[in-house]
Amino acid sequence: MKKAGIIMIIGSLLLLGLFKFPLWNIVLGAPQYPDPLGMDIYIQGIQGVEEFDIQNIDGLNHYIGMKTIPKVEDMWEFSVFPKVIGLMVALGVIIGLLGFLGKVSYKWFLGWFIVMSILGLLGMYDFNLWLIEYGTDLDPKAIMKLLNPDGTPMTYKPPLLGYQKMLNFDVDSWPATGAYMIFAGMMLTVVAFFVGRYEYKKKVKTEPILKPALA
C-alpha cells in the first residue's frame, strides 16, 4: 500500500491550499463598473479582489439595506473552518502514513473522504445560509425598497453557484483556486482508496496465506 499511502498524503496536503487561496469568488459587474467589484472568500475571512472592493460593495449595498460584508471577528466560521481543515489535513496525512506503513486498511481512505464530504456539504449549507441571511435580512430603513413582480419585497441573495442578474448587476459566484484544490485533493483520496484496494488484491493473490491475518 505504499503508492496508495503516498497519494492519500498528497491528496490531504492539497487541502492546505485553502489557507493560501480563496475558496469562493463573487464578482459584481455593471456598466458603470468596467472594472467589476469582487470578493474572495477565504476560510479565514473575506477580502476584496482589489484593495477597496469591499468598501465599495458595502457602499452600494447600503442603498438596499444589506449589512456590510462581515469582518473576521463577525463570523465564528472564520475561526472554526481553519481548525477543521487543519484537523482534516492532519488526519488525512496520518491515515496516509499508516496506510503507507501497512498499519491500516485502504478503507480508511474512503472513510476520510466520506467524513470530508459531509463536512464540505455542511460548509456549503452554512455558506448558503449566510448568503440567504445576508441577502434577505435587510435594514427596514433601507433607502431603496424594491418589490418583485408578485409584490413581495425583493431580496438580494447572491447565487451559491453560477450567474444571476441582480438589478443592474451581473453577479457571478464560482469556486476559486482553493475549492479546486480541495476537489483535486479529495479526488486523490478516492484514487488512493482504489489504488489501495488494487494493491491489496494483488498482494492477496501473491500471498494468499497472509490473507486471514490481515482480515
Partner: protein, 656 residues
C-alpha cells in the same frame, strides 16, 4: 506708418499670388477638404468605449490652462488648471491650491500659457511630466502625468514675457525660460529711451530633479538686450547645446514692427549649456539678489506651499569663453527647431521668403576654426555662409514653426500664406503643401520635439477660425486641424475646436501614460493636517474668530450635516475629506454666499474652502457633482447666529 501699410499691402498681394499659383481659389478647394473622397471619417472615429491613440497637451493660451485632447478624435479629455484659477474644481480658490499662484507680484490668478513640452529620457518621450510656461508673469509649471495635476510652479526673476520657454533637454536635465522682453536687470527707474545697451535679456536654466521633478534655477545667462523669441534644445549630436531665436537685434524701443525689422539678419543664439554648467559647478557665476516664488504641491497633504527665494546665480557669457555664439539668421526668425538627428537648426525668418537651415557640424567647425564675422557685445558672430546647411527656397510666406516626422521630412507652418509645407530635410525640396483654415501658428507632430517622432499625425494650431464651425458671435474658439502624414501628401482629416489660444502642443502615445494614471488617492496616505480620516475625526473647532470644520463625505452624505454655533463675522474653514476609494467618484462642495468658488474633492483628498457668513440664518451647503442616486440628498445646513450670540458649537449627523 504709411510705410507699414505698404509693407502689409505687399504681403497680402504676394499671399494672393502664392495661393493662386497653388492651384486656384481656396473657396473651391475647401469643398474637397475633409476627405470626402477618402475615408477620413473612419480614420478619426474612435468607437464608443475605445480610447484615442494619443494624448495631445495643447496650451490654453490666454486661458492660462492646459487642454488635454485625444487624437485622432480631437475630443477634449480634460482642462488642466495651471496658471489660472478654475472654479470648476476650486483650483486657486481653495486654501490648499492658493499658494500655487503666489508670485513675487503677489497672487496672480491668470497667465498666458504657451509651450508645453513632455519630459524625455535619452531624447525619447517618457511620459513623466509636462512642463509649460506662463508668459506674462514669468513662470514654469510642471504637471505630473500620474496625477494629471499641476504640482509645481517656479517663478522666473529678471525675466519678462517668458516666451522662449518651456523647452527641455533630452534627459530633462534642464527646462529653459528665455525672456522675450529685455528689461533693466536689476529693475530700476530709468528712461525707456536708454534701452539700447542697458537692457538685458536673461536666459534661465532650471535644473530638474530626476526623482521628484522638482525644479530649481541653476543659472541665468545675462544676454544682450534683444528679444529672445523661441528656443530648442540640441538633440543627439547637438545635445549639450540650446538654441534661441532673437529679434530686435536693433535694440529698438518704439514702433518695433518697423524699427525691429531693419536688420537683414538677426541671430540664433547657440548656447553650450554643458560648458556653462561646468563653469557653475566649479563655483563660477555671481549670486545676485532676486525675488521669486517656488510653489510645490504635496501629494500626501494635498496642500501647496509657496517659498519666496531671494537670490539667483547670474552668468555673464563673457566669463565663459566658447559657451555662446550668434548664428546670423535672416529677418526676425520666430521658430527655432532642431531636427531629430540634432544636425539641422531651422530658423524660420518670419519676414524672409526663404527658410534658413544651419548645420550643427559646420557650426562646430566654424567655431573650432574661429571663422567669425565680428561680434556683438563680445559674443562671436559666426559667418552666415560657413554654417549654412541649406535653404528651402520660396516655400511660402511668414514661416513660423517646423516639426519633423520619422522619415526625414519637415513640416513648416506659414502664417501669412496660411499653409503647411512639407519638405525634405537634406535636399530642401518642397514635397507637399496644404492650406489650413486659417493662419496657422505652431504645428505639432507627436514626439516631434524629440529624437523619435511618431510621424502619423500633424496638428495645425490655427489662430483664426472664421467660418469653420457654427458661429458663436464675434468671439470664436480657435481651430485645430488634424492631418494624416503617413503618405507622401498630407491629408486633412479633422477640424476641432480648442480652448484659449492653443499656441503649441505636445503629444504622446496613450499607452505611455494611461497605465500609470492615478485612480484614487489612498485615504490611508492622506497627511492633510485637517483631514478627517474616520467619522470620529469629524469636529468643529473654534479658534477665536476662526471656525474649523473637519468634515468628511461619502455617497451620499456629509458628516456632519448640521452645524450650529457659527456667528456673523466668523471666518469658517470647511476642511472636507472625500472618503470614497473608488475611481471617478469626486464630490463637490458648495455653500451659499461663498465669495470664492466651489470645490471638487477627488477620492481620498482633503480640500479647504473659506466662507465668511455675513448674515444671520440657516444656510445650506450641498454636493455639486452628481455622484450617486441620492446626490440631491447630499446636503446639510450651517446655522449662523448674531455676532454676540452665546450659542455654542454643535454638530450632528443622522439624529432625529
Amino acid at each position: 506708418m504709411k510705410r507699414t501699410i505698404n509693407i502689409l499691402l505687399a504681403l497680402v498681394m504676394v499671399a494672393g499670388l502664392v495661393s493662386c499659383n497653388d492651384g486656384g481659389n481656396k473657396k473651391s478647394k475647401r469643398g474637397n477638404q475633409g476627405g470626402l473622397s477618402s475615408n477620413a471619417a473612419e480614420r478619426v472615429y474612435v468607437a464608443p468605449g475605445e480610447h484615442d491613440e494619443f494624448y495631445a497637451f495643447m496650451s490654453g493660451g490666454f486661458s492660462g490652462q492646459l487642454g488635454v485632447y485625444g487624437l485622432p478624435s480631437g475630443r477634449l479629455l480634460k482642462v488642466l488648471p495651471v496658471f489660472s484659477q478654475n472654479p470648476e474644481n476650486g483650483w486657486g480658490y481653495t486654501e490648499e491650491t492658493k499658494p500655487m499662484l503666489n508670485t513675487s507680484f503677489g497672487f496672480v490668478p491668470w497667465d498666458d500659457s504657451h509651450h508645453p513640452d513632455i519630459s524625455q529620457t535619452n531624447g525619447v518621450l517618457d511620459g513623466r511630466w509636462v512642463f509649460i510656461n506662463g508668459n506674462n508673469t514669468p513662470r514654469i509649471a510642471r504637471i505630473d502625468l500620474k496625477n494629471f495635476k499641476t504640482e509645481e510652479i517656479i517663478e522666473i526673476p529678471h525675466s519678462a514675457g517668458n516666451h522662449s520657454s518651456s523647452f527641455i533637454t533630452e534627459n530633462t536635465e534642464y527646462v529653459v525660460a528665455g525672456t522675450r522682453f529685455s528689461v533693466p536687470i536689476p529693475q530700476k527707474d530709468m528712461s525707456i529711451k536708454d534701452y539700447k545697451g542697458n537692457f538685458k535679456g536673461s536666459l534661465t536654466f532650471i535644473k530638474v530633479d530626476q526623482e521628484t521633478g522638482h525644479m530649481d534655477i541653476k543659472f541665468q545667462l545675462m544676454m544682450p538686450g534683444f528679444n529672445y523669441d523661441l528656443s530648442h534644445p540640441g538633440r543627439d549630436k547637438s545635445h549639450g547645446w540650446f538654441f534661441f531665436t532673437t529679434y530686435n537685434t536693433e535694440e529698438a524701443h518704439t514702433l518695433l514692427e518697423v524699427n525691429a525689422s531693419q536688420n537683414d539678419k538677426d541671430f540664433i543664439a547657440a548656447i553650450n549649456w554643458k560648458k556653462i554648467e561646468e563653469y557653475v559647478n566649479n563655483g563660477g557665476g555671481q549670486k545676485v539678489p532676486a525675488k521669486y516664488a517656488h510653489n510645490i504641491m504635496d501629494e500626501n497633504t494635498h496642500t501647496a506651499t509657496s517659498t519666496m527665494k531671494t537670490e539667483v546665480l547670474q552668468v555673464n557669457p563673457m566669463d565663459v569663453p566658447g559657451a555662446v555664439y550668434f548664428l546670423p539668421t535672416p529677418k526676425s526668425p520666430h521658430g527655432c527647431d532642431v531636427d531629430p538627428t540634432g544636425e539641422y537648426i531651422i530658423g524660420n525668418g518670419k519676414l524672409s521668403a526663404d527658410l534658413t537651415v544651419h548645420s550643427f557640424t559646420k557650426m562646430i567647425d566654424a567655431i573650432e576654426n574661429k571663422k567669425f564675422d565680428g561680434e556683438a557685445y563680445g559674443i562671436p558672430i559666426l559667418n552666415f555662409e560657413d554654417i549654412l546647411a541649406g535653404v528651402v527656397k520660396q516655400p511660402g510666406l511668414g514661416p513660423l514653426h517646423t516639426e519633423f516626422d520619422d522619415k526625414g521630412n519637415a513640416y513648416t507652418t506659414f502664417f501669412i500664406s496660411s499653409e503647411v509645407v512639407k519638405w525634405k530635410v537634406g535636399t530642401w525640396e518642397v514635397i507637399d503643401r496644404q492650406p489650413v483654415f486659417y493662419s496657422v501658428g505652431h504645428g505639432m507632430i507627436p514626439g516631434g520635439n524629440s529624437r523619435k517622432p511618431f510621424g502619423k499625425y500633424f496638428v495645425a494650431l490655427n489662430k483664426i477660425t472664421k467660418d469653420r464651425y457654427l458661429p458663436t458671435g464675434p468671439e470664436l474658439t480657435q481651430s485645430a486641424q488634424l492631418f494624416d502624414i503617413t503618405g507622401e501628401k498630407m491629408e486633412l482629416l479633422l477640424d476641432f475646436p480648442t480652448i484659449g489660444e492653443p499656441h503649441y502642443a505636445a503629444a504622446i502615445p496613450g499607452d505611455m501614460v494611461a497605465p500609470n494614471s492615478r485612480k484614487i488617492y489612498k485615504l490611508a496616505e492622506n497627511k492633510h493636517p485637517y483631514a478627517s480620516l474616520s467619522d470620529s475625526d469629524t469636529k468643529v473647532v473654534r479658534e477665536g474668530k476662526e471656525v474649523h470644520i473637519y468634515m468628511n463625505m461619502i455617497r451620499s452624505h456629509f458628516n456632519p450635516d448640521n452645524i450650529e454655533g457659527v456667528k456673523v463675522g466668523d471666518k469658517v474653514y470647511f476642511h472636507v475629506t472625500n472618503h470614497e476609494q473608488d475611481f471617478d467618484v469626486p464630490h463637490g462642495f458648495a455653500v451659499i454666499g461663498a465669495n470664492n468658488a466651489e470645490m471638487l474633492i477627488v477620492p481620498g483628498a482633503t480640500e479647504t474652502l473659506v466662507w465668511e457668513p455675513k448674515e444671520v440664518g440657516v444656510w445650506p451647503f450641498y454636493c455639486t457633482d452628481f455622484c450617486s442616486a441620492l446626490h440631491q440628498e447630499m446636503q446639510g445646513y450651517i446655522r449662523v447666529s448674531p455676532a454676540d450670540s452665546n450659542i455654542g458649537l454643535s454638530w450632528s449627523l443622522g439624529e432625529d
